[in-house]
Amino acid sequence: MASICFYFQVHQPLRLRHYTVFDKNDQYFDDYKNGSICRKVANKCYLPANRLLLDTIRRFKGRFKIAYSITGVLLEQLQRYSPEVISTFDALAETGCVEFLAETYYHSLSFLYSQDEFVEQVNKHSKTIESLFGQKPKVFRNTELIYNNDLARLIESMGSFEAIITEGADHILGYRSPNFVYRPKDCSKLKLLLKNYSLSDDIAFRFSNRDWSQWPLTADKFAQWVNSVNGNGNVVNLFMDYETFGEHQWKDTGIFDFMRHLPEQILKHPDNDFKTPSEIAQSFQPVGTVDVPHLISWADTERDLSAWLGNAMQSNAIHELYRLEKEIKKANDEKIIADWRKLQTSDHFYYMCTKYFADGDVHKYFNPYDSPYDSYINFMNVLGNLQSRCSRQTIASA
């Protein structure tokens, strides 16, 4: 029996506008750019993919299921620039075949720097999802699938989650397979779902790569790979960015047609079915404990944090940001707190990554800056202004 579990990450950051040290106002974000990117991605990906998946769900009458994790920063942008996307997500929610996962509202790295802030953001996100789509998230995924034992313990202690999701990285699994449900170390109830990165990346990254020996990838071929899991696994967790459909893989690569035909091919095998993450957690018992003392993520080949914290600028920027936490919360100004939180979105630090800068690659995608240095300078100028606003506010209210 192989249960296929699709989960799509849906996120767009709020990009900063060009902000120099001479700028004095508190308009940090590039509304024009954010609006146009949001509408562009809505038209190329969110709307056609939602329509396709909604049709597919209806066609299979409850046998095809998927899950989403939509960030708060994207939901705010959709409400503002592309509200029709929200209604199509709502239509998906109403089918009963779609699950919405929990994450940090601001797609932040707050777990690494402030537990209080992290819990606040998770709760804010869950509340937003419940009010928009009428379901309370039961499965948690952290930003960029960043994970360790401490995170699992914290999530279990929050009481509202049945499972947590992370990357099925080789160095944590060893000989073990990601195609089972596990238990995080030191947890008694929480279940751990691991991404099958090989099969996920076949769709997300390799689908249109003509140098790949398996190109072109057809639904039929992919279903056979899934079938081969039967007998040595219970689940196949296919986790990927939603922008895979229409953005990372353009429409003319055939990605939508692939997705249209995949459920039928998978369901041809009588032992296969589709489940959402919480159904997976409810259906299978853990086969073992996974110990992850060090932080992992789903990024790059390293599967570590180096894409966000790998150089001195990134580490400096994020430390300076969280160093302000107390002061910001003391100032108790809603707009200041919201701006501070929007600066926590992990993308701001990703833009500062120097790792593959010279080669140019996936890090360039959607990157609004010419170089990591420009992005650091811009971020620090904004942070400098935020800090002075905060100090003024504290003095004024004292």
Binding site: V21, F22, A312, M313, D370, S371, Y373, I377, M380, N381
Partner: protein, 429 residues
């Protein structure tokens, strides 16, 4: 393979990047076992003339030959000529007059026309004629040399290159390190432009130092893109400078401009940015190292902007003084208006000094770990200067990665590309 190379300057007789580039390139060719005869004009009154040993200073052909110990495959031939790079015809006239005056002082009277070392008759009265006189002497020299290819560096040597190539029936490569448009903006000297274009048209291959320069060659000189090849410059790594600490106890940040103070290098944008930086920060000094025809204007401008006490002018620096100034600097800024390449930022990074470079430069094609600005965007230059001075992690990351990046640029690769272009030119003939 044997190359007959025509240049204007070579260390230690340098006033800019051209000499540095010729040195780096020929040194690398030497290591590739390419035989090079390097022909260069030399003023007898140069105060640095003692640095090289002249084997045959009284030669009737006005040519002298010498070798650098380190370069076994390179022979130098010098021609007595007052040709100087980066010259204008006016400046040339002044130099001629100055040389004649010194000559008069030395001999305590009028210049003798029969003076066999420095015959006034050898010197033509204007630059145009001098370029052609250099061509004639180079041709004379070439007549006794065996070589496969002629390689001429920048416009003053193009007529010589053309003559030598015609005589020897060997392919001509012209190497464009800068064009009249870079040096003079829109106020081009028609004579120089004509010489440049003639050289490029006649050449079998044109080598230039960046895609930025290649665009100018194609769009402004009408040269077919097919024969214009890009060979980026590199940097000669130092590290053998046994430098003691500068001894300057600095509590101030130092922002460095190093280059000729001419329109091409954008000194006014440096000063404009300095003014803006000083509105926000106080403990900064701006050092302008170099000389040039806008030097006085730059001093005046600093005073007019009210930042006279914050801007220091050092004059032209060379050798160890350059290393010293790099040791002191926190940041190097190159706001060039039009820079075909620009080796200095590579030297700055080699000395662990981070750089801000103009997007209107060739070097920005090879450097990723540099801050890039439009030369006219004074606000953004100031924004970036402040950021580097204010945030140590930025300065550190730029310097570390930049230094690493510079290590990957090697003259050997540039020389190999040139050799490949030679081979193509030889096949075509």
């Amino acid at each position: 393979m044997k190359v007959f190379m025509l240049g204007w300057e070579f260390p230690p007789f340098i006033s800019g990047g051209l000499g540095t580039a010729c040195y780096g390139l020929t040194k690398a060719m030497d290591q590739l076992d390419i035989k090079v005869t390097f022909c260069l004009p030399r003023m007898v009154n140069s105060k640095y003339a003692t640095h090289v040993k002249l084997l045959n200073p009284n030669s009737q052909t006005s040519a002298a030959s010498f070798k650098f110990n380190k370069l076994k495959n390179v022979t130098f031939r010098t021609i007595n000529s007052p040709l100087q790079p980066y010259s204008t015809p006016d400046a040339y006239q002044q130099r001629i007059e100055e040389t004649l005056r010194q000559k008069q002082k030395m001999h305590g009277g009028s210049v003798s026309l029969t003076d066999n070392v420095f015959s006034g008759a050898d010197y033509s009265g204007d630059m145009y004629a001098e370029v052609h006189r250099y061509a004639a002497l180079a041709a004379e020299l070439a007549a006794n040399e065996q070589f496969d290819i002629v390689h001429a560096h920048d416009w003053m040597t193009y007529p010589a290159g053309i003559v030598v190539a015609e005589m020897s029936r060997k392919p001509l490569i012209v190497h464009v390190h800068s064009t009249e448009f870079d040096r003079s903006g829109e106020n081009v000297n028609q004579m120089i432009y004509d010489i440049e274009r003639q050289g490029m048209e006649r050449a079998d291959k044109v080598i230039t130092v960046s895609y930025f320069a290649r665009n100018i060659i194609i769009s402004r000189y009408g040269i077919s893109g097919e024969k214009v090849e890009v060979v980026h410059n590199s940097v000669e790594r130092n590290g053998n400078w046994a430098l003691t600490e500068s001894g300057i106890d600095k509590d101030e940040k130092i922002v460095l401009f190093l280059g000729r103070i001419t329109m091409q290098k954008g000194p006014e944008y440096f000063l404009g940015a300095a003014k803006k930086v000083l509105e926000v920060m106080d403990n900064v000094k701006f050092v302008m190292a170099g000389s040039g025809d806008l030097m006085h204007r730059a001093v005046e401008m600093a005073a007019e902007l009210g930042i006279g006490s914050k801007v220091l002018f050092t004059g032209f620096l060379r050798g160890e003084d350059v290393q010293k100034i790099y040791k002191m600097a926190d940041l190097y800024v190159m706001p060039s208006v039009s820079e075909p390449f620009g080796i200095a930022p590579l030297e700055a990074l080699d000395n662990d000094v981070p750089v801000i470079i103009s997007k209107q430069s060739g070097v920005s094609e090879v450097l990723m770990h540099a801050l890039k600005v439009d030369f006219w965007d004074v606000n953004e230059i100031a924004n970036k200067i402040i950021a580097v001075l204010k945030y140590p992690p930025l300065q550190e990351t730029l310097a570390n990665y930049g230094n690493f990046e510079v290590r990957k640029l090697r003259w050997k690769d540039s020389a190999q590309k040139c050799v490949k272009i030679y081979e193509e030119a030889l096949v075509a003939v």
